[in-house]
Every structure is written in structure tokens, then in C-alpha cells.
């Protein structure tokens, strides 16, 4: 398990454009946090995506002792904007470290504006996940535009960038490096730093550590396709009668 390379706040919120990798980052972040923290909750706040949400890793969280806040039963498979009261509870609970996996784009982030109405009372990080290989976030200007819209919709400020540039199994170290360069320029525009570079476990050892100073957070893919190898015990799109995989 990769260590989290910075001092975490009580609430960590992951935002970003559609498909930037918020869910995989959130799952890995929650599991890493659980290594040092007694009580970790992850809230699946994805109200815009119908599949591949962090609730699909329910089994993984269960085994690791991370508490998942997500619609249960039949509602787990709904495409409805369900905001559970337990999320507000977790945000204001001083005894727990909470991770929010927020839906893509400004549309998905709007939900934050109501949850953080008493924002000054909350010790939080708003980390923007960016993948330079995704459409609409391929360069600094377009990424900035997406993140500004997220800031407006959520009424919160970005406090850090997560460089998550990848191309699944076709990821190369050069690609990751280019992504970091873009993330650094992007971070400057928001006057924040790049908190970490997230890379899949198999790519991490191939990175030349001296080529950049940003800490590396090595990740395992947990949300897999039905035909992918799930020897890691990851959550594929498996269905169970209880709606929790």
C-alpha cells in the first residue's frame, strides 16, 4: 500500500472532469488512509455517472474496514441524485477522516455547495484530478476552464492538483511525465501545488524519480471490466441481490 505523501486534512474531496479518475484515486486514497487512521469513511457522491462508481468497490472497503456511504439496496443502481444525510454527518464529524468522491464536471460538483454551507468550520482539501489524455482537459487552458467551473458550481476553491495522466494499459512513463508538467503549470494558475502523481502499480517502478519532485502515489485498479483479470479481488461490475456487488 502506497503511503499518502502529505499531511491529510479531515475531509478530502476529489473533483475533476468526467473520467479523470476520481473514483480510482478516491478508492486508493481511502485504503491508504485506513493504514494510519482508525476511522475512515468514503462517500460516493457521484450523481452524474451511472456505472463505475466507488460503490462498486463495496467489498474492497468492507475488507479494509473503510465505511462506505452510498445509496443501498435497489437505489445503489439508480441514476438519481441521491444525497444521503450521512454525508453531511461525516463532513462535520471531528472524529473521522472523510473522503468525498464527487461526480464529474461542474454538474457533479454542484452538490458540494449545499453540503459545505458552513465551510469555515470544516478542515478540508479540494483536490482536482486531471488526466491530460482525456478530451476537454488536454492542455492547461482547457483544464483551467473546467476547474474554474467546478469552483463556481461548488462554491469552493481548489487547494491542490492530482496529476493522473494515464492511458490504462497503454500508459508510458513519458506520458506520466508530460502530465506532471501540465499539472504543475495548472497548479500555478490556482496558486496551489501538485499534491501527488497517481500512477498504476505496474508503471510506478518505471518512472525516473529524479525527473520530477512531485511525490508518487502508486495505485491498484479496483473498478475493472467483466473480462479483466480480477485476481486482485477487485470489484468488477458484479451484481448481487443486495445491490452491493
Amino acid at each position: 500500500m502506497s503511503k499518502i505523501p502529505f499531511k491529510t486534512r479531515r475531509v478530502t474531496i476529489f473533483v475533476g472532469d468526467y473520467g479523470s479518475g476520481k473514483t480510482e484515486v478516491s478508492i486508493n486514497f481511502a485504503l491508504a488512509l485506513r493504514e494510519t487512521e482508525k476511522w475512515v469513511k468514503i462517500a460516493d457522491l457521484d450523481i452524474v455517472n451511472p456505472y463505475f462508481r466507488s460503490r462498486e468497490a463495496a467489498d474492497v472497503f468492507d475488507r479494509a474496514g473503510v465505511e462506505l456511504i452510498a445509496p443501498a439496496g435497489e437505489q445503489a443502481w439508480a441514476d438519481l441524485p441521491i444525497i444521503l444525510p450521512a454525508i453531511a454527518g461525516a463532513i462535520h464529524d471531528e472524529s473521522v477522516k472523510t473522503i468525498l468522491d464527487v461526480g464529474g464536471d461542474a454538474a457533479g460538483s454542484r452538490v458540494l455547495s449545499s453540503l459545505f454551507d458552513r465551510v469555515s468550520e470544516i478542515d478540508y482539501d479540494l483536490l482536482a484530478v486531471v488526466n491530460a489524455n482525456r478530451p476537454f482537459t488536454g492542455d492547461v487552458a482547457s483544464s483551467e476552464s473546467v476547474l474554474r467551473k467546478i469552483e463556481t458550481a461548488s462554491k469552493l476553491r481548489v487547494t491542490g492538483i492530482v496529476s493522473n495522466t494515464h492511458l490504462l494499459s497503454k500508459t508510458t512513463p513519458e506520458m506520466v511525465l508530460k502530465g506532471v508538467e501540465m499539472a504543475c503549470s495548472l497548479a500555478k494558475r490556482f496558486d496551489v501545488d501538485v499534491r501527488f502523481v497517481s500512477v498504476e502499480r505496474s508503471v510506478a517502478p518505471r518512472l525516473c524519480a529524479s525527473s520530477f519532485s512531485t511525490p508518487v502515489f502508486s495505485m491498484t485498479r479496483y473498478v475493472l471490466l467483466p473480462w479483466e483479470d480480477d485476481s486482485t479481488g477487485a470489484a468488477t461490475l458484479k451484481r448481487g441481490s443486495d445491490g452491493r456487488g
Partner: protein, 359 residues
């Protein structure tokens, strides 16, 4: 162009733009919402581009009719319930011989069903898209790259046959992300759209877009004209893929779309155990590659059809085999995706001469 990471829905949408489509009319429904979402961001950047969310699928289908009638390339996308609503308009479009491209990212049905992937609209796509004597060419991708490539082809095929073309995916094809590359297609020589209603100036015959033929002989003529095109599609447009069919095999799997992806994992796993199984994947579902399937089945003792439905393509498989080989069927539906292990278990039963489970 470098590879980008895209959802199937996004890749389809970008491919439509690359194919010269500037018009999208539709209405939201899961699991295809990324198509309108993407195009609402992208089409305003395209010269002459227009993204319009209609008040309903019924309206969207009629907007398609209008846009295609003036000779423009036009796209809509939906999922099961929305396609049902469009079916009247699509029948008019087919009757009026208009080229349009329709994407169906299938979810579980019938009725509102659920939002998870299914292949239960096979009958609707290949046999019952609307009233009257008409069919549409149906293309079924199994990867994000193929989804993009087929959409580009779909526009050319629609123009070539003056017919609606459907790209039939399932929720998984729409939602999963894969690297995709947009290759500029070679320009296909297509007949000029002399029939388009572009404004009468007295220098040609009037172009009238119409599906009403009160004279029965004219209506019959129109139906046989369409039938001749479907026959031509059956001759010239068949697409299929064979996997692991070079050597010998006792079992030949038939599956399409994302189910075929799962079956490929099955084939790889069984290979390691010394068991050789073939896969026939139709890419055109209408016209169906009947002869090609029958030929591939020659080496097999059993043809095993796997679908995310209760058995719809199975009808075409039986038509293809003409009773020459026994068939077995395994299906999951309602949003349940069969796992590779599940399918391997069924193949083991077939090899032991047992009946497979119904589901």
C-alpha cells in the same frame, strides 16, 4: 492523432463529428447521456454545428427526418425506451428513404427496466424498429475503438443505401473507457443527394420527401425498392470476426458486442487448459452473416450462443445453421453481465454432453 482515453459514448460522438455530422437531436436517457453531453460541448465549436435537446424522443426523430430530408448528416442516440418512442418517426424516415444514424446503448428492459447493460433490444433493432416493411442496417461494436470506427462507416452506409443505420451497443460499450485513436477515413465515393429538398429553382425535378403512397401499386413499388436495398446490404455489407477458428474445436461460441469480449477471455483461459473453443462474432446484426456462421460451425459439434438477453440472436443462429448443428444457449439479462467463469462452467457441461443451465 494521438490516442486519447474515452468512454464509448464520447468516442461515438467525436467520430460522428469526424464523419461530417454537424447535427444532433435527442433526448437524455441513461446509459447514453455522455453522447448528448459531449456533443453539447463540442458541436458549438464546429462550423455550422447544432446541438438541440428536443422536447421528447418523438420530436427528435422528426427533427432527424427534416435534417436528413434537406441532405444533412444527422445523428440521434438513445436507449431502449427512447428508441421505442422514436420508432414511428424512424419508420417514416425509412419509408421516405432518408439516411440517418441512430445509436442505441441498450439497457435492461422491458418497460423502464433498469440502467445497466443488456442486449435485449436485438429483436427491436433487427426486426421490429417500426411499422411497415422495412429493416435498418445494424452495426454492433465490441470495443470503444470499434464503436468510433463503425459510427464513421454508419454515415457512409446510410448515404449509400438512403436508409437509417443503427449502431447497437450496450451500456457497457457506452460507459467503459479505453484508449481510442481517430483515424481520418478515406473518402468513400457516394452518389450525390439529388433527391434532397434543398429549394426548387426550376432547374431540376421537384424533390419531395414523403412516405405516403395512396396508390397501392406505388406503395408496393416503394416496399420492393427498399427490399432490393436490403438484399444488396446482405450481399455487400456483411461483417463478422472469427477468433481461434484456425484449428479444431468442438464448441463454437456466437456472441456480439461486449459479451463477445467476455467470451474472448473465456477462450484464452480455456486455451491454457488445452481446450480449444472458437468464437464467431457478427458485427452486422442486420444483415446477418448466415453463411459465414454456418461455415464456421462445420468444425464444431455444438454451437453455443451467449447473450445478455433471454435468447434473441439465437433465432438468427438457428436460421444460419438450418438445423445442421445443435445449439445451446446461455443468457443473463436485466443488467447482469455473465462472468468468464460462469461461461466456462457452461462450456464444461457442453463438453461432457450435458445441457447448459438456462441462466
Amino acid at each position: 492523432m494521438a490516442k486519447v482515453l474515452m468512454k464509448g459514448n464520447e468516442a461515438l460522438a467525436e467520430a460522428a463529428i469526424m464523419a461530417g455530422c454537424k447535427l444532433f437531436f435527442g433526448y437524455p436517457i441513461t446509459p447514453q447521456n455522455e453522447i448528448p453531453e459531449y456533443l453539447s460541448r463540442r458541436l458549438p465549436q464546429v462550423d455550422g454545428g447544432c446541438y438541440l435537446q428536443a422536447e421528447s424522443e418523438v420530436a427528435a426523430a422528426n427533427m432527424l427526418y427534416g435534417a436528413a430530408g434537406v441532405g444533412e448528416r444527422v445523428l440521434t442516440s438513445s436507449s431502449g425506451p427512447g428508441i421505442s418512442l422514436m420508432s414511428e418517426g424512424l419508420s417514416y424516415i425509412a419509408g421516405a428513404q432518408l439516411p440517418v444514424v441512430v445509436v442505441n446503448m441498450v439497457r435492461g428492459g422491458p418497460g423502464l427496466g433498469g440502467i445497466l447493460p443488456a442486449q435485449s433490444d436485438y429483436y427491436q433493432a433487427t426486426r421490429g424498429l417500426g411499422h411497415g416493411d422495412f429493416r435498418v442496417l445494424v452495426l454492433a461494436p465490441s470495443t470503444v475503438q470499434e464503436a468510433a470506427d463503425l459510427v464513421m462507416d454508419a454515415f457512409d452506409l446510410a448515404d449509400k443505401y438512403r436508409s437509417p443505420v443503427m449502431v447497437l451497443g450496450d451500456g457497457l460499450i457506452g460507459q467503459m473507457m479505453e484508449p481510442v485513436e481517430f483515424k481520418k477515413k478515406e473518402k468513400v465515393e457516394l452518389p450525390p443527394k439529388t433527391w434532397a429538398a434543398t429549394g426548387y429553382k426550376g432547374d431540376r425535378e421537384r424533390s419531395i420527401i414523403n412516405s405516403l403512397y395512396l396508390d397501392p401499386l406505388e406503395l408496393e413499388e416503394n416496399s420492393w425498392r427498399l427490399k432490393a436495398r436490403y438484399d444488396a446490404m446482405g450481399r455487400d455489407e456483411l461483417r463478422w470476426e472469427l477468433t481461434n477458428c484456425e484449428g479444431d474445436y468442438d464448441v463454437l461460441i456466437t456472441a456480439y458486442g461486449s459479451t463477445a469480449r467476455i467470451c474472448k477471455t473465456v477462450i484464452e483461459t480455456l486455451k491454457k487448459q488445452g481446450i480449444s473453443v472458437g468464437l464467431f462474432r457478427p458485427i452486422t446484426l442486420f444483415p446477418y452473416p448466415y453463411k459465414q456462421l454456418r461455415d464456421a460451425a462445420q468444425k464444431a459439434k455444438t454451437v453455443f450462443c451467449v447473450e445478455m438477453s433471454t435468447g434473441q440472436m439465437l433465432d438468427d443462429v438457428k436460421l444460419a445453421l438450418e438445423g445442421s448443428r445443435p445449439t445451446q444457449f446461455y443468457g443473463r439479462t436485466g443488467g447482469i453481465i455473465p462472468t468468464p467463469d460462469e461461461i466456462i462452467g457452461q462450456i464444461e457441461k457442453i463438453l461432457k454432453g450435458e445441457e447448459v443451465d438456462k441462466r
